[in-house]
Amino acid sequence: MPEQTEIAIDKEIDARGSFCPGPLMELIRGMKTLPVGGTLAVLSSDPGSARDIPAWIQKARHEFLGAFPEQGYTRFVARKTH
């Protein structure tokens, strides 16, 4: 898993405090408009994201680059592969 500082982020979505539709929907929305090869970071304060986000990224066959804990939230990073 790469170090967070090594990853160049193309788009960042601040979904802290989002419950409905929630950080996973924000991630899906962000991935949709990202060009192939681009990287997306989603900030989430929802504990469920730790399970939801990697699971969706895997199911959608994109690359999960890591979950990086910050103060009061987590930054989830993914790359769009197709």
């Binding site: 802290r16 405090g17 419950f19 409905c20 539709p21 950080p23 996973l24 939801d52 969706w56």
Partner: protein, 400 residues
């Protein structure tokens, strides 16, 4: 010299903010104008019920003239904004003929409106071309996100004699996350009443790992779907619709055949936002989560469906946002510092979720607190029905 405040969009958010500003600001402090493309105000939650009952699309429970909902001090302009010029702080507007209430333009068909403060409440629009197959298949799939479309769905349901009905969404984000699930519950009930349920397979598709974004709601909704024999598939992100062969396919590689498809169309921000180069790739305005200022611009604010805020696109969010934005603008116009507690949006949303059989639950949350939905009951269903009627008398006016 009064400040010119322009509000673009006469939906629930734009109407409330214009009314609250007009009630608090004196004529010498501000001139408030609201520009709307049709001059009519629709109650969109009512469209959910259109496919199932006899109300007509022009029923006064569903649509009313905007003028009747606005404070007398608000100038209403009926027209389409062609361009938003944030550098010169002016809007280029093409008036809708025969419905004008134009002040000071002598009846011209186009005019430029300068602003000191701009509120973009331009909402969301449906963009069929964002999902392959929708344009070509027009008429062969259905939705209830427009009054006329809900009417066509009603007609299709009346002709329906059994088979598989698939309900899902065609893009993210979309207005009112509960709506597809609510529709499914109401459809199940309607089919049973018509004696068609035994001959019908209902199949609900969700793009997420569960049937609803909020886990606590999914935990209530999933057993209800199972109990009513509604099949559901998760991790289904619609990729294309083949309306000719009646097949819907997902980016996860799954294909499902249907006899009738109810699909929430893809959404984007308003065309004028796109044309004016103001929004993101889907034309949502990058908006500060608390102050509702549009990022990178000064004197420009956004609220409601038009923003990129991570809250549900709902009348409820627009309603709470409008209240705090009005407080902020009143302070700013007066040269005062906005009071943080009153003039900052805390993410508050309150909405209902119908679960059929005269029951509903209520979702109340903000940026800090997730919802803890109560068990569905007749109480919340009655509250929703009452709200549907009371809306016209207390909500757009800013009285709630």
């Amino acid at each position: 010299m009064p400040q010119h405040i322009l509000v673009v969009g006469g939906g629930v958010g734009g109407t409330i903010v214009a009314n609250l500003l007009a009630r608090s600001l004196h004529r010498q402090e501000a001139e408030i104008s609201l520009i709307d493309s049709t001059g009519m105000h629709a109650y969109m939650p009512g469209w959910l019920y259109l496919p199932f009952n006899r109300v007509e699309t022009d029923d006064s429970q569903l649509i009313r003239p905007e003028r009747g909902l606005l404070n007398n001090q608000v100038h209403l302009v009926t027209g389409e904004v062609q361009h938003i010029d944030t550098r010169n702080r002016e809007l280029h507007v093409r008036h809708t003929l025969d419905k004008d209430e134009i002040v000071g333009t002598g009846g011209a068909s186009e005019a430029t409106y300068p602003y000191d403060y701009l509120v973009l409440a331009t909402g969301a629009r449906l963009v069929l071309s964002d999902l392959p197959g929708l344009m070509e298949g027009e008429g062969k799939w259905h939705h209830f996100y427009e009054a006329q479309a809900a009417l066509r769905l009603r007609e299709a349901l009346h002709r329906f004699e059994g088979g598989r009905i698939v309900i899902t969404v065609g893009g993210i984000p979309y207005r009112c996350p509960p709506a597809p699930l609510e529709f499914t519950f109401l459809l199940d009930e309607w089919l049973r009443k018509r004696g068609l349920r035994e001959r019908t397979e209902l199949h609900y598709l969700s793009p997420l790992p569960r049937v609803f974004p909020i886990e606590s709601v999914a935990e209530v909704a999933t057993p209800l779907l199972e109990e009513r024999d509604v099949k559901y598939t998760v991790f289904f992100n619609t990729e294309a619709v083949d309306a000719e062969h009646r097949v819907i396919s997902s980016l996860e590689g799954e294909e499902i055949a249907y006899d009738l498809l109810v699909l929430v169309p893809p959404h984007r921000g308003a065309k004028v936002i796109e044309d004016s180069g103001l929004g993101d790739e889907q034309a949502w305005l990058p908006t500060d989560h608390g102050t509702l200022e549009v990022k990178g611009l000064s004197h420009v604010y956004a609220l409601g469906d038009a923003t990129d805020l991570p809250v549900s696109k709902s009348g409820s969010a627009a309603h709470f946002e409008a209240r705090v934005l009005a407080q902020r603008l009143i302070a700013v116009v007066r040269g005062e510092e906005p009071e943080p507690e009153k003039a900052t949006y805390d993410g508050e949303v309150m909405c209902f979720l119908e679960t059929g059989r005269n029951r509903a639950t209520q979702l109340v949350f903000n940026y800090e607190h997730p919802p803890r939905p109560p068990r569905p009951s007749q109480y919340y269903h009655m509250e929703k029905l009452l709200f549907n009627r009371a809306y016209w008398h207390i909500v757009p006016q800013g009285l709630l």
